[in-house]
């Protein structure tokens, strides 16, 4: 690596993402950034701060809150917003349920994951957002591998994977008709490993849930779930204490933990390098069928 005028892979990805985020602000009138409190949205927000520095991030963040979040995530989120003087909009899945737009699933495997789509689309419509940036990555899942940076959504918020606009070089076409919107994925080209390396390189704070800790959990069909108030236990399930950490953070009802003693970013990176299961392998929501993600995305999911 002798050439003085070259940048490493993380800086190249960073530069690409910053370019995409700036394009969003230039091409759309009222964009927002979706924020869940997970590591991907944390680095996406970090990149947005870099993109407009020394100005503030010129758009709102929106969190679609299922009401089944880990308290640690919510606390982390509120702290970060306060520190960075950023406006956060929270839309609640509970409101969609109360309005009778969606029905809460019941039973042991129930989840509010799919319900989020309705709340998200309602939020986009009500607040007149013409673009919502998301932290989706192409390496996460096979349907996501086909996703564009600038992803067009029709007036029903739907994705048509077979009829996507070609995307070449760094020219992004954000043109749309009234009522349509875009989903933009600035960190499309990042892998799980890149995200962790970047968090280490940039020393970005993340929720403690990502680090090893002791927690009461249940093992359900190979997925380790936190035994919290939103997880309905089966009759024969008895919570046990384990040393675990989370690789992804979503709803308590569907986010699987892994047994791990990784306590530092370096240890996490080592663990990610040697692990043989994908990140979403622990996500109960993806296990529903082979095309679970594609189907949800077509409807308007993140």
């Amino acid at each position: 690596m002798d050439n003085k005028y070259r940048i490493n892979h993380l800086r190249e990805l960073e530069s690409e993402s910053i370019y995409v985020i700036r394009e969003v602000v230039a091409q759309f009138e009222n964009p927002c950034m979706l924020f869940s409190g997970g590591k991907d949205s944390i680095i996406m927000f970090h990149l947005a701060r870099k993109a407009f520095w020394p100005a503030r991030v010129p758009f709102s963040l929106m969190h679609i809150d299922t009401g089944h979040n880990f308290q640690e995530t919510i606390d982390f989120r509120d702290n970060l917003m306060k520190e960075t003087e950023t406006k956060l909009i929270v839309r609640y899945v509970q409101d969609s349920i109360d309005q009778g737009k969606v029905v809460d699933e019941t039973g042991v495997n129930s989840s509010r994951n799919i319900l989020q789509t309705t709340t998200l689309l309602d939020g986009i419509e009500a607040l007149k957002f013409d673009c919502a940036m998301g932290g989706g990555r192409r390496d996460e899942e096979k349907a996501r591998a086909k996703e564009r940076f600038f992803s067009h959504r029709d007036e029903f918020g739907q994705w048509d994977p077979k009829n996507q606009r070609p995307e070449l070089w760094n020219i992004f076409n954000g043109r749309k008709h009234m009522g349509e919107h875009f989903r933009v994925f600035p960190i499309s080209n990042w892998t799980e490993m890149d995200v962790w390396q970047y968090i280490l390189l940039e020393n970005i704070p993340i929720p403690n849930l990502y680090f090893s800790h002791e927690r009461e959990v249940v093992d359900r069909d190979g997925t380790i779930l936190a035994a919290g108030e939103y997880v309905t236990l089966k009759e024969d399930e008895i919570p046990v204490k384990k040393i675990i950490r989370f690789r992804t953070i979503g709803d308590m009802t569907c986010t699987g933990a892994i047994e791990s003693t990784a306590n530092t970013l370096e240890e996490i990176i080592e663990e990610v390098a040697s692990t043989r299961i994908t990140e979403r392998g622990g996500r109960y929501d993806d296990k529903r069928s082979e095309a679970a993600m594609e189907d949800r995305k077509k409807e308007g999911y993140f």
């Binding site: 490493n8 700036r22 870099k50 520095w53 591998a145 760094n170 080209n189 994908t278």
Partner: protein
């Protein structure tokens, strides 16, 4: 920023490569092999593929299912769209743009090739250089992919004979004289058995060249970027509205060519006004110099009117400027191109309108013959055309700079991206 370049795994180079082909060439097997041998395929993905392979019932584990992500693709057993795949070795991080190889998907191949540093061309050793080989090579040269690696695959089926490899190599050399490619390498491989993919083959002692993985890890790509002609298309103007940055105006963008230093004399196009770089700002602080492809914010000594779409350059190596522009295009839309029709043209951070003036010729991608009579340009056609823009554009030829020499055309009624263009 310099200390991070000694931090081992945090300091890797990013290489983007494209592959084109159908299941029959062994393209998916090759990608599967690269992913598998570099441990980028996970157990749960493998299990899912095994399960899905059982369903389609051909007995063998079908690695193509890894890349064919859409339900329609899996059902029909074909690749429709560009799929992006990722893997890393201790030396480099790789992004594969995996595209279908059939002629009806020329537009997807063009899309995948647009950002690639390297093109992998697969040849089935039993078929040799065929129409498809020429087509894929032509697209690689049209999109100016700097390096081509020709993998002559299925060597196991010809008893690893040197003679067969050498014959195909000279056939390819013959067609490549028609193409504008500068760096071509040949590797005899068996994707299925792994010969010369990641590990050296013990079946081909006559071959003393590198393995495919060695090439991918070591091909020199740092000098592919144009570091001579400075190009900074302004993306967005930053005005902080904060007390401590009261008079700050910064021009945000990505450097698309050359190197900028604090104190450099610069010129803004189209106004032609001059100033000096006061500071190069990033979140961490200030830089003394910045270069392509960094995203930075420039502030200037003088308060001059600059907005999105303007181009900041240094005085040497000026871009071209014209309203009449000739380019090679690939047409993407079901609706044919309208001669005399008006389209939106997007070039760097500029949106203008243009009218299609003329079709100079159309290319037969199977023979590379020029057809000067046929002016009908439809889906997947490649042609040389001329357009007239409403205002002068500041550009480079695509050969000189891929980012300031490329455009897309947008249909104003449907908003679809209908063509990609490489300025001549």
């Amino acid at each position: 920023m310099s200390e991070e370049y000694n931090r081992g795994y945090l300091d890797m180079e990013l290489l983007r490569f494209t592959t084109a082909g159908s299941v029959d060439d062994g393209k998916s097997t090759l990608i599967g092999r690269l992913l598998y041998d570099s441990k980028a395929i996970f157990e749960d993905q493998m299990e899912a593929i095994e399960k899905a392979s059982l369903k389609t019932g051909n007995g063998e584990v079908n690695l193509a299912l890894l890349t064919d992500g859409l339900r329609a693709e899996r059902e029909q057993g074909i690749t429709i769209d560009v799929a992006y795949r990722y893997f890393a070795t201790p030396k480099r991080k790789f992004i594969i743009a995996d595209t279908p190889g059939h002629i009806q998907y020329t537009r997807n191949m063009v899309t995948g090739a647009s950002t690639a540093n390297v093109a992998l061309i697969l040849i089935d050793v039993r078929n040799g250089v065929i129409e498809q080989t020429l087509r894929h090579s032509y697209i690689a040269s049209l999109l100016q992919i700097p390096h081509i690696i020709v993998c002559i695959n299925k060597m196991d089926l010809v008893d690893y004979k040197e003679e067969v490899f050498e014959n195909i190599k000279s056939d390819f050399d013959r067609i490549s004289t028609k193409l504008d490619v500068h760096d071509i390498r040949f590797v005899p491989i068996s994707a299925k058995l792994g010969d010369n993919v990641v590990d050296r083959s013990t079946n081909m002692d006559w071959y003393d060249g590198p393995t495919l993985m060695y090439l991918l890890e070591n091909i020199h790509i740092a000098s592919d970027i144009n570091h001579n002609d400075t190009r900074f298309p302004v993306q967005h103007v930053i005005r902080p509205m904060k007390e401590e940055y009261h008079d700050y105006r910064g021009y945000a963008g990505r450097i698309e060519g050359g190197i900028f230093h604090v104190g450099d004399k610069v010129k803004v196009l189209p106004s032609g006004l001059s100033s000096k770089i006061k500071s190069i700002d990033v979140f961490e602080g200030h830089l003394e110099e910045a270069f392509a492809p960094q995203s930075v914010t420039l502030s200037l000594e003088d308060d001059i009117d600059i907005s999105r779409g303007n181009l900041i350059i240094k005085d040497n190596g000026l871009p071209r400027s014209s309203q009449d522009i000739e380019m090679m295009i690939c047409w993407f839309d079901e609706k044919p191109m309208m001669l005399g029709g008006k389209y939106t043209i997007k070039h760097t951070t500029n949106d203008l309108r243009c009218v299609i003036r003329d079709v100079k010729y159309k290319i037969d991608v199977n023979t590379l013959d020029h057809d000067k009579e046929d002016k009908k340009i439809g889906l997947n056609d490649i042609a040389k055309i001329s357009v007239k823009t409403t205002k002068p554009l500041y550009f480079d030829s695509y050969i000189k700079n891929r980012n300031t020499g490329s455009i897309i055309l947008i249909d104003e009624a449907t908003n679809n991206t209908v063509a990609a263009g490489m300025i001549i």
